[in-house]
Structure formats: structure tokens, C-alpha cells
Amino acid sequence: MFTSIFQEHRGFGKQIFLLAKNELIKTYKGAVIGPLWSVVKPAFTIFVYWFAFSVGIKALKAVKVHLNGMEHAAFSIDFFTFMFIGIVPWFFIQDQIVQGAKTLRNNRQFITKVKFPVSTILTYTGLSRLFVHIFLVAIMYVYVLFRIGPSWYNLQFFLYCPLMFIFFLALSWSTAPMSAFSKDFESLIVSVMSGVFWLSGIMYDSYSFTGGLKIAMLLNPINFFANGYRNCFLYHRAFFTYKTELVIFLVEFLAVFFLGIFNYNRLRKKLPDVL
């Protein structure tokens, strides 16, 4: 059952890094400020959200959303910092889910024309997005150092980040072949993802609910990472503090991982016929 994906990666490590690097060049070539675009776009998005929530909605007064959910934390922090730390992993997650699903269709020449270890396409394109993410995290960390200061808990980043990469890579083992098979499936993912942002605890604190809603929030793996990054940089909390959240996530992780292997193996041999 394990064979195909792992076999395809064997002895291909160096190539994956080279291809990931070239994927980055492909994305940003021909632009005057080049790789800086990977910062400009998120920076603008962050500005818009900050403006809408800190300036715009406050002026309305009528809407008092869950922005104050931070009050039960050890210390109170401004909304911008709270959002910034949560939205950085979100940028990666969104990109990885949406673009990851499209990857095989976009790289069809490697599937229908030549023999190629197909699953590595998902790895190197994902890796190129991870490079961008790490760049953003570095910028964020400079801000964190000035605003909050360093902490040993920051090191948990090296746990959350690889975990996030593997989780959403494994998700694309399912979604990418399925999207290649049916364009409708791809559109479904794109449509759903545009709403998922507001269902996830990026702009608000997903811990601040009670009852059924709280459980629903725990089921969303995106919250696990948004909160995880905040555990590292803001709350200074160990990753095992909320055991329920951790256990739910681990179960989901295993499910996504094995479902990914199952779906990839199921569809791999049909891919050259449908693309």
C-alpha cells in the first residue's frame, strides 16, 4: 500500500529541491521586484483585514465581533498582532490547498508525455510554497521579537511547520488526482476555500466559543495550526496544553494521510488517460 509514493521519492531528493527552486523562479520571473511579490500580496491582504476590523467595523459600533476573545489570555494583546500571527500560516494553507489541487492538471506534460515520478510533482511545488512561507515567517518573527520578545516556546515552530507541510501535502495526494480527474472537483475546492477563511479562527479566537460550536472549531485542522503558531509566538503555550485539540488533530492527520495514499494509488494509473 505504501509503495508508490515513497518509491517515487527514493533517490529523487536532490531533484525535488532543484525543481522547487525552479518553481519559485517560474512564479516570479519577469517581475521587476521579483520575489518581493511574495511579501507584497500578503502584506496588502493583512492591511485590508486590519483596516476593516480595527478601523472600519469599529466605526460601525454595531458589530462587536469576537475580537475580544483574547481577554482570557495571560496578557492582552492588540488585534493586529493576534491576526498577523494567525494569518501567516493561513496564507500557506490556502495556497497549498487551492494550488495543490490544481498542480497535477497544470503539470500534465509530466504525466501524459513522459515517465515521471508523479507524486514528486506535488512535493516540489509544495516545497516552493513552503520556501515562501518560511520567508514570511522570518519577517513576522522580526515583528514578534520587537512586539513580544523571544521565548523558548518559539522553537515549537519547528514542530508545527513541518507538520503543517506534511498534513496539507498528504491532503493533496487525494485532492490533486481527483481534481485532475474532474474539473468540477477542482472548482468545488476553490469555491469552498474562499469561505473557509471565515470559518477558521484567523480573524477571531476559535477557543472563545462554548458548546457545540467549540467542538466544531476543534474539528477544523486549520485552527490547529493558526492556534499552534499563536502557541509558539503569542500565548507561549506548549503544544500539548489542549489535549483534546491535539488528539482530534492527530486522528485527522492519520485519516488524511492514509486516505491520501489510498486515493493516489487508486487514481495514479488512470491519470495519463484522463489528462
Partner: protein, 249 residues
């Protein structure tokens, strides 16, 4: 003639023709009930031995491309087994399969790794490839800057210089200008005399007769005849004529 290098054992391949996109979406989750199908290959069995040159003839849609794609490892059978015992080089889609942002040199390595070659070996053949492709300084430029002729030359050069055990050639191949074409033909002949197995696909009876002593005739996914080229071509010719006669009636 020692052991077979390519073995097809009862290989069948069916393409499912989905009625529309809805049916395709549904097929992701449930197996479609009696879908329309196209049997591209039907219970095909043959063995090809090391050093043989075999022609594959047949009309359009006979299953030639599907067969070649399976040998090169791009497509997979639904039933049956395929054993290919060695490196396969394909002169089919020469301009495809490059990573466009990588340089020509890096693409040589990429292709090499896909074929399971080691660094040392690739380094050895690297110069031959560059020389054969006549790319000059362009070899260290990204492949996206290449003209289609240059891409083809590089693709051809890589495939013939890796010392393949099996070489798959499509006759419809056009590689650059006349002088390079001649160079390619000479190279293919050289490879053949070195004992490489060659599979040759063509519509033209003459070129098959010239190159391959043995031929396989495919019609609608089934092997109709497998034997000496002269006999195979006769069967093929007879069938064509009978079809023509039918049409006249």
C-alpha cells in the same frame, strides 16, 4: 536470442468514455455502471528479445500509441502484465517533459535521474549529449529560451546517448533541418548495430521493411499477425485492399 527484454502477457486496456462531466465527477466516488468503453488493446501477448528490431504497423486507432506508451511507462494496462527489462528511450514526444526553467544541462540530469542513472554515469555522457545536440553555450540557458528545434535536438540527444536497452521510434518524427535529420538516422542505425532493441512504428511499408526483420500488425487493439516483416506486410496490404473493395461495392 537469450531471454525476452519486453514481455506482454494478455495485456488489455480499456478507455472509459464518460458521457459528460457529471458522469466523470460521479465516477470519482462510485464505479460507473456499464459505461461506454473503447478497447484500445485486447488480450495482446508477445515477446521481444534483446537485439531484435520489431516494426509495429496498423491503421490509426489500432492501439499503436497505447502500446508504446505502456512500454515507455507512461500508461498502464487494466489487465495483464508487462515486463520491460532495461532502460527505455523513446523518440516520441521530444519537446515534452522538460522543466522549462532549468537549464539544458540540469534537464539532462533530471532525465537521467528519472531513468535511474547515477551522477557519475550522467557526467560521463553529458559531453556527448551536448555535442550531439549542437547547442553550444545555450546548454546553460533555461530551456524556455530554446527554439522548438533546439528542444527537439536536446531531447533526441539525451535519449540516444543514455545507451538504452530499448529504443522506441516513431517514424513521424521530425527533427530539425536536413543535415540533423541525417545525423539522427545514422545514430539510430548505429544504435541498432550495437545490439539495442528497437521498436519502430510507421505507416510506410518500405521503411519498416528496410529496418525491421520482424513486424507486428495491430488492428483494433488485437494482434492480427506477428512474424517476418514481408509476411506481416502482406497480411496488412491484403486487408487494406479488401476494405477498399468493400467500399467500392
Amino acid at each position: 536470442m537469450s531471454e525476452p527484454i519486453i514481455t506482454f502477457k494478455n495485456v488489455s486496456k480499456t478507455y472509459i468514455l464518460y458521457k459528460n462531466d457529471q458522469a466523470r465527477f460521479k465516477a470519482l466516488f462510485i464505479k460507473p455502471k456499464n459505461p461506454k468503453t473503447n478497447k484500445a488493446l485486447n488480450n495482446v501477448s508477445f515477446e521481444i528479445y534483446r537485439g531484435e528490431s520489431v516494426g509495429i504497423v496498423g491503421d490509426n486507432g489500432a492501439g499503436k500509441s497505447t502500446l508504446l506508451k505502456m512500454i515507455t511507462g507512461v500508461a498502464f494496462p487494466d489487465e495483464g502484465d508487462i515486463i520491460v527489462d532495461g532502460k527505455v528511450a523513446a523518440l516520441l514526444e521530444l519537446t515534452a517533459g522538460f522543466s522549462l526553467e532549468m537549464t539544458g544541462r540540469e534537464n539532462i540530469y533530471l532525465k537521467g535521474y528519472i531513468l535511474g542513472l547515477e551522477d557519475d554515469y550522467i557526467k560521463e555522457i553529458e559531453e556527448n549529449i551536448i555535442e550531439f545536440a549542437q547547442l553550444g553555450d545555450y546548454i546553460d540557458q533555461p530551456v524556455r529560451t530554446y527554439s522548438s528545434g533546439m528542444k527537439m535536438r536536446l531531447g533526441f540527444a539525451i535519449n540516444v546517448n543514455i545507451e538504452p536497452d530499448v529504443l522506441v521510434v516513431d517514424e513521424a518524427l521530425a527533427v530539425g533541418d536536413a543535415s540533423f535529420k541525417r545525423k539522427c538516422k545514422d545514430k539510430i542505425k548505429e544504435i541498432m548495430t550495437n545490439g539495442t532493441t528497437v521498436l519502430y512504428v510507421s505507416h510506410s511499408a518500405d521503411s519498416v521493411r528496410e529496418i525491421c526483420p520482424r513486424s507486428i500488425y495491430l488492428r483494433k487493439g488485437t494482434v492480427i499477425f506477428d512474424g517476418p516483416t514481408d509476411e506481416t506486410l502482406k497480411v496488412y496490404q491484403d486487408y487494406k485492399e479488401s476494405q477498399k473493395a468493400k467500399k467500392k461495392k
